[in-house]
Symmetry: C2
Subunit: 406 residues, 2 copies
């Protein structure tokens, strides 16, 4: 018998109307004869409401108590959805993290799942019941309540699907899939029927917030297909899996971009072993996420180091770098807080030579100046002036044959 | 070392200001060198908010899911209070029913506590920590979340005090103790320093809603003293215990009353074995609480049965009785929905003869007609026209020497 895990986010359980609609989707799969387990987030707004109560008590409240507090949000939505399913005549029962067997480590607010003791839920499903499980949470070895961090419900759903040996983990959301690029920029962008785990990870790292990165990593490790689909309309979404889906792969799968980046350069620092970590260490310590990094070829024993940071961290980064520059007897620090990243992504580029060159040619034709380049096996990213983003995305989408025909 | 359990109701954790005040009370006892465990209710209004969400989904939602839903209320307040205690530098940690070891039967919404596995909490207290435990809830043998019913937090607190072998269970509330009678009727009513479990049960059954009956029964069985006191001012309240507190006991401890009663009579029914249960069975089946019951002496094989019911159930009761009257070939049904009960209560009356007579004499002097009488070992209750309640309470309070001297 086909066994599936459905995951619903906060908007899907955020109101009575949405709870009713969500229950209908579950009912549909049951009528198809599937065994269904459900994972839910807290009702939209609830986690913030609870955090605000805590913040009033103590802006610096302990992570253990914060986790115990916010974990109630999913317990509420799980119980409400179970009630609605029961109203439809379905044998549904809610389970919190402890009851569902989610064991985690002890890192409050960002716990990692160690395992799911799913024997009980498995038996209930075999008996024709629908478990409605709280996402985002578990208990550590001592029984303390833990949470997985924002967006952790995706990871809960994938972990449960793996533990229950489900065929697929259906993640219902308010978008209907992954597109070849942002339809707000390219109106004829098309929805991808299928995408590989690696590509999904690259899309996610570029700000496609539809799936939590951890959940994709876990799915990839255990080869659990994720079907990313809309809870608003019953159409196929995008299947994220390890399968190769066709004889012919396009060179690239999609074009992604990320605005709100800043570029910083520290010039004339001594070119000696360990200099990069000497510079980047303090940036990492300040919890600033460093991305594209380029080190210039050394000149007379000195070098330049350039990297990008999120634009919100630009001022802090400049301050840290200026301090470092004095310490290291560097030349000077320069920066530009108006850059963006544009990437082409696709497992197809592994076997197609010249993808990077085609990208650079396409951008050159549009007179777009490339400031930095970084490549991975399935991605080429360029940094450019933010004003060129739309032009670059449209040109690349067209050059790589992604424009849909309709 | 003195070990105590504090219990706080919904108003004591209902706002940031109250949470701060509550934490201060706990801090005081810690500074006295006491070991303190805390039991909390949900923030006032929260349980109703959650029930209303459930009602929107399904007015007839399953008890299991309702329990899982409303149990979150106490988890929220426990976490918030623990945060506040931590802010004061106290090592406090919240525990939900499952974590605190509350094992119950499977009767959702009105579960009974089977035991408290308190080894873990005991060890934490020995290590100088303050457990903040959710009242009102536990888990059954299968791990399902259960609740004890409204007011169940008192019972949770007493059960925890027993399990932890505490010296006393301090129940903090918005009244400062039990009075000899309602101060709204008798302005010189005085607060009782001490009251026995039996007396407390009689007061509670007459509508003194300060303590849940089940909690008093449990405390009596295990001889756990309850200190009923105000969370608004630091003064001694009323100690509820099995101890005899003085050489001389007053004849009675207090005067209680209950308005909103109705009296019904079914006349001329066959006087045969089982007739009372034949009449009262259907009333009980309708979940109507029957109180004072009087059966007249039989006349020519027929008898009358009179009893009181809460006034809200008067119409239903009359309808049921009229049906029964036809079935049993009875004479007729009469009723009066404007009566009240007035009781004198006191363990002292066991050893003082003539207490009942003194009560009847006092009421007669005031020309108050007694409609029905019922007695227990430590209580005499009379049913009267509701309009006499204040007069009767004042006269009895004075006649039994309860008026305070100041």
């Amino acid at each position: 018998m086909m066994r599936v895990v459905h995951k619903y986010g906060g908007t899907s359980v955020g109101s009575l109307e949405r709870i009713r609609a969500t229950a209908k989707i579950i009912q549909c799969d049951l009528e198809r004869g599937y065994q269904v387990a459900v994972v839910v987030s807290a009702m939209s707004g609830e986690t913030n409401r609870l955090l605000s109560l805590a913040h009033d008590v103590d802006a610096d409240a302990s992570p253990r108590e914060l986790d115990a507090l916010v974990a109630t949000g999913e317990q509420v939505s799980a119980a409400l959805l179970a009630m609605e399913l029961q109203r439809l005549g379905i044998k549904a029962y809610s389970y919190n993290g402890a009851q569902a067997g989610f064991r985690t480590d002890n890192s409050y607010a960002r716990a990692r799942i160690k395992g799911v003791q799913s024997d009980h839920l498995m038996a209930r499903m075999e008996a024709g019941e629908v478990p409605v499980v709280t996402g985002f949470q578990g208990v550590d070895e001592a029984g303390n309540i833990t949470t997985l961090g924002r967006g952790g419900s995706d990871t809960s759903a994938v972990a449960l699907a793996i533990a229950l040996k489900a065929e697929v983990c259906d993640i219902y959301t308010d978008v209907d899939g992954i597109y070849t690029t942002d339809p707000r920029i390219v109106s004829h962008a098309s929805k991808l029927d299928h995408i590989s785990y690696e590509e999904m990870l690259e899309f996610a790292s570029l700000g496609a917030k539809v799936l939590q990165t951890r959940s994709v990593e876990m799915a990839m490790r255990f080869n659990m297909p994720i079907h990313l689909r809309s809870s608003f309309e019953d159409v196929p979404g995008t299947m994220v899996s390890g399968e190769d889906t066709g004889m012919e792969r396009a060179e690239i799968t999609g074009v992604a971009y990320h605005r709100d980046e800043a570029k910083v350069t520290i010039k004339g620092i001594p070119d000696q072993p360990g200099i990069a970590s000497r510079v980047l260490g303090p940036i990492a310590d300040a919890n600033i996420n460093v991305d594209v990094i380029v080190q210039n070829v050394s000149e007379q024993g000195h070098t330049d180091l350039t990297f990008t940071v999120p634009r919100v961290d630009y001022a802090t980064t400049m301050k840290l770098l200026n301090g470092l520059c004095s310490e290291l007897n560097g030349d000077k620090v320069t920066g530009d807080n108006g850059v963006a990243k544009v990437s082409i992504i696709g497992v197809g580029m592994r076997s197609h030579a010249g993808v990077a060159r085609k990208m650079f040619d396409t951008l050159a034709k549009e007179n777009i100046n490339i400031q930095m380049i970084t490549t991975s096996e399935i991605k080429v990213t360029v940094v450019m002036d933010e004003k060129y983003v739309e032009l670059a995305v449209r040109a690349l989408h067209s050059a790589f044959g992604l424009d849909s025909r309709d």
